[in-house]
């Protein structure tokens, strides 16, 4: 019987190696697999490359440092690939002080690179970023009279994903705007680990409503995480 559910966070995190590229889904707090990221912090892998939409928030004194900023603070992140990094944030300070690399990418290019990894497209041309700093070092070619740059697929050794419902085959649905990066990071991860709010029997999710088919999922952990919080 196929059963992708794991019983513990340790089992979910098992085998993640130093030097891994980790895809971290979510947009702000919504759809972000915070429990899995806490698990990764606990698990101990370092020298990581983290792919995440934003490391933009500036930390407010007195508040606990969590999530990707916490991983950065612990010195476990070699590089972030992100669309939004702000000076004065924990990530920004790490970059300023030379403790971490940052690759800033357009959000649509980030999404397309992830989808390309999942879909077996090693590289593609796009007009986004042509004629800007993003184009530096990239091949440029005109299509339909428009400059385009060549972008590479972005694979994850690990993808951390948050679902609303999941079954034992790893089929997933997402609640409202929490879908965001989750389905494409699930596709792009060589080891895709899911935290799900709810567990379904096989067959309970209608075939027409499954958003991420189980073929893209390796491990599922049941975490009743509650509603996303408002940004602090």
């Amino acid at each position: 019987m196929i059963d992708k559910f794991v019983r513990s966070m340790a089992e979910a995190m098992n085998g993640i190696k130093d030097g891994s590229t980790v895809l971290m889904a979510g947009f702000g707090e919504v759809g972000a697999p915070h429990a899995l990221l806490d698990g990764l912090i606990e698990q101990g892998a370092g020298n990581l490359t983290i792919v995440v939409n934003s490391v933009g928030r500036v930390h407010k004194p007195g508040q606990p440092v969590q999530g990707v900023p916490r991983l950065i603070e612990l010195g476990r992140v070699r590089k972030v690939i992100t669309t939004f990094i702000r000076a004065g944030s924990i990530a920004g300070d790490a970059v300023r002080d030379g403790r971490m690399e940052a690759e800033a990418v357009p959000q649509g290019t980030l999404a397309e690179r992830l989808r390309a990894a999942g879909a077996g497209v090693p590289a593609f041309f796009t007009p986004t970023g042509a004629g800007t700093l993003v184009a530096e070092g990239k091949e440029v070619r005109d299509y339909d009279g428009r400059a385009c740059i060549l972008e590479r697929a972005l694979h994850g050794d690990v993808a951390l994903v948050e679902a609303w419902m999941a079954d034992r085959w790893g089929n997933l649905t997402f609640r409202d705007s929490s879908r965001n990066f989750n389905p494409i990071m699930a596709m792009a991860g060589r080891l895709t680990i899911v935290q799900t709010h709810h567990v379904c029997d096989l067959g309970q999710l209608p075939a027409n409503e499954i958003v991420t088919p189980g073929i893209f999922v390796d491990r599922v952990l049941h975490v009743a995480a509650g509603d996303p919080k408002l940004p602090a």
Binding site: F27, G92, P106, G108
Partner: protein
């Protein structure tokens, strides 16, 4: 500026831009002033708002007791979704943007040049802060790109320039600019002034602008 002239506020700029959006358009609104535009489109004019994080048919901010923590816009503000709205994932969301399916995006700006170049994500190539978000995709992908911004910086430096000095978001993408003083279109011969706030003379507008203006 003459004492009798009142520059538009943030909502004034948003309202002025909203006025020009026709029914049936698919529109993405950037962070800041652009986000305010939705509230100024009359409810009986159907405009479909897109949000980068996978929403088509964004509705107004809900009343506090109706907030849905699972539903935020690209500024991570809690919003609502209209009847007919839909959710997609990030790649499909940007397929709408990059595939040329949006009629319009409205972005904030630091600088706009008379050739349509836009700079809105960083003030120098070397600074740590790189706030690209979805702006590069939107600037390249939407059929029309409008920018809302103050006509000058707080220090009175012009933002409508011959050439941008900040790193570009995209070259030659801006079609129209809504400032607190005027509405301008980008034409092959530079900025054309479409509208100007009451009481402000063309020459006074020019004096606050680096690029040469012409009457549209």
């Amino acid at each position: 500026m003459s004492d009798t002239v009142t520059p538009l506020g943030r909502n004034g700029m948003a309202a002025r831009a909203a006025q020009d959006i026709p029914e049936g358009w698919y529109v993405n609104l950037g962070i800041g002033i652009p986000t305010l535009i939705a509230d100024h489109v009359p409810p009986d004019r159907e405009v479909v708002f897109h949000s980068e994080n996978g929403i088509l048919g964004v509705g107004p901010a809900p009343e506090p007791h109706k907030q849905n923590p699972w539903l935020v816009n690209a500024s991570t503000q809690r919003i609502s979704i209209r009847p007919g709205g839909s959710f997609v994932h990030h790649a499909d969301s940007f397929a709408m943007v990059r595939g040329g399916h949006l009629d319009l995006c409205v972005l904030g700006g630091f600088q706009v040049a008379e050739n349509g170049d836009l700079a809105n994500w960083a003030q120098s190539a070397t600074e740590v802060g790189k706030q690209i978000g979805g702006a590069m995709d939107l600037a390249v992908g939407a059929r029309q790109v409008w920018v809302t911004m103050e006509h000058t910086t707080k220090q009175g430096q012009p933002r409508l320039l011959r050439r941008c000095s900040y790193p570009l978001t995209a070259p030659g993408c801006v079609t129209r600019v809504y400032t607190n003083l005027a509405v301008l279109e980008v034409t092959p011969r530079g900025f054309g002034v479409l509208d100007i706030i009451p009481g402000l003379a063309f020459d006074e507008l020019q004096s606050r602008t680096e690029a040469t203006l012409h009457r549209a």
